[in-house]
Symmetry: C2
Subunit: 153 residues, 2 copies
């Protein structure tokens, strides 16, 4: 039983993707699912921070620090999923600009990394106003990328 | 335009969940989507390591270290999504044991955390055999939890 799982688990794992080294081997629909999963989780951990910045959720420095550290990891995850092979996929709102202007797309990713890094630093600093400003900058980075690279709904 | 996004983005973010502080306010189907997203990404970053441990993917110490650090973050993400409110959800293979035996479920989560932590330490140590053994332990932790808390397909 244990052994059966081990093998089944491995096959499953191998089916989901070779990160960094050879992601072109991963099926396009899997790449889309993975990058959307990263977006879903960025929403999960950014949501409460956006609420705090707007005064709709009580400010909690511990949650800010924790979520900022998870966002640091998550903000690295979506991008290798935007492989050329996913161009024709239906279940995505990615615009052709993702592939037509990779330099600008990379710039938008970098803007997010920078903003998330600054949020982490602000969270360590412990100044609530600075944290809220940093949350605003992360939100702007999300918005900038969505405006240019994601289809409007 | 910027401002419109800011508000729309905020509404979206708030819709996706209040992490840690008040997750019971998040819709059950959103919690399921978020926890499944975490599983999807654990598969993405564990897959290549499982492949290396089996000799099916060339060993790459850099990928091991990078993926291990992301797995450290990801392995913290699924669990608060298994709220009581998600018991009746259809689009999930979570077994009733998740809710009937929370102590055992927590133990299974802890086993994963421990194994992922040991993998990160092994990656820093740089001993290939130790890394591969640590990958095997992570795989066992995944399997143990799936065996007990996830419906067979």
């Amino acid at each position: 039983m244990k052994k059966r799982f081990l093998l089944a688990g491995l096959a499953l794992a191998l089916g989901t993707g070779y990160t960094l080294t050879a992601f072109s081997q991963v099926k396009p629909e899997v790449l889309v699912k993975q990058r959307q999963a990263a977006m879903t989780l960025q929403g999960k951990y950014f949501g409460p921070l956006a609420g705090m910045a707007q005064g709709k959720v009580p400010y909690d420095a511990g949650v800010v620090a924790y979520n900022a550290s998870l966002l640091d990891a998550l903000s690295r995850m979506p991008w290798d999923g935007f492989a050329e092979s996913t161009k024709g996929e239906k279940a995505t709102r990615a615009l052709p600009a993702v592939y037509a202007d990779p330099a600008k797309f990379k710039q938008a990713q970098d803007q997010l990394h920078t903003a998330v890094g600054a949020l982490g630093a602000a969270a360590k600093g412990g100044n609530e106003a600075a944290v809220k400003a940093a949350v605003g900058d992360v939100n702007k980075a999300c918005g900038n990328c969505h405006d240019n690279f994601r289809e409007k709904q």
